[in-house]
């Protein structure tokens, strides 16, 4: 018995089968691509800057406010020290 059984339907629907196959491949590509973009956060440039091994305190939530508060406290402390007799 032949290993490959060809039916007339296989030839008739060859174009359709290829088309469906290519569409499924495209769907896999789209889902994979979306996963890469979403998981790596490629749509947000700051997410990429975050991991460039350079300190970027402004990227941390609340870091800027904390730094300003700290600077204000230090300034107040200096002013108090200078004001002492």
């Amino acid at each position: 018995m032949a290993l490959k059984v060809e039916h007339e339907l296989h030839n008739r629907r060859r174009g359709r089968n290829w088309g469906v196959g290519l569409l499924l491949l495209a769907l896999i590509g789209i889902v994979f691509g979306l996963t890469v973009v979403k998981v790596l956060g490629l749509s947000d440039i700051t997410q990429m800057e975050r991991f460039d091994h350079v300190a970027r305190p402004q990227l941390e939530p609340g870091a800027l406010e904390a730094a300003e508060k700290r600077a204000a406290e230090q300034a107040a402390q200096r002013a108090a020290e200078e004001g002492e007799p």
């Binding site: 008739r12 629907r13 174009g15 359709r16 088309g19 789209i30 691509g33 979306l34 973009v37 490629l42 749509s43």
Partner: protein, 313 residues
Amino acid sequence: MTDVTNQQHTREAQMGDYFALMKPRVMQLVVFTALVGLLVAPVSVNPFIAFVAVLCIAVGAGASGALNMWWDADIDAIMKRTVNRPIPSGAVQPGEALGIGVTLSVFAVVLLFLATNALAAGLLAFTIFFYAVIYSMWLKRSTPQNIVIGGAAGAFPPMIGWAVATGSVSLESVLMFALIFMWTPPHFWALALFVKSDYGDAGVPMLTETHGRDVTRKHILAYCLPLVAVAFGLGFTSIGGPFYLLVAVVLNVWFLRGCYAIWTRTDADSEADKHAVERRTFVVSIYYLFGHFGALLVEALLRTYGLTQWAGW
């Protein structure tokens, strides 16, 4: 829907037949305007997400086209222009078209939601519903204003593109919607004036047949006037600018002249020169829409490279 299952299944459907169900020519306009809506928005989008978003909008439009062909298979079989469509020609069964339409609609809306945001997906879902249910099932066979209200379905894509980028609806996106919405009636009625249609045989009320050609001529001019206002209004929003306004002046004068000429003509004039003015105005209407959206795209590029300063804008 009238039963068309007595059609013989004459040949094996190929991929091209299924693609034809999605009305690829309509899809061109949808893709272009959605892309412009997305690119002119003040928020940048990752190119891959933008690609997937435009693909979803195109597939959603195609799905509504398939649903429209499923519902209208009975009248498509009567009209000469549509008799070779996949369902009346017997290549695709009505049930297949319904299945493809529903599946692709769900697929497009869900993927757009996952890729972008709920507003964009919701607007796409509403657009499909509007075209398939409000226009195809309800208005198309019941009122000669079918084109006017149904035109809203074709006007949503730039609004969806804008929502993909910004997650909101704003004056700019509403005016882009209004531009296509107001453009659709004069565009189609100009066509209806020179194409010998058999809508009447199919029982579809077209303005030219229910109210006459003279009334249609008046309606073309009546819709063109607010269209001009919308086109110029868009130029003074954040996405407009001097280049857009320059293009708008040329295109609006050109189109308005055509609509005015159509209004002043009689059917005898029209027959005498084989509808030359109507044909020309129809062609101009195509340049009109692509010209305005193309100019918006150029404005966005000029803004990106800081080249709008020359006009003191």
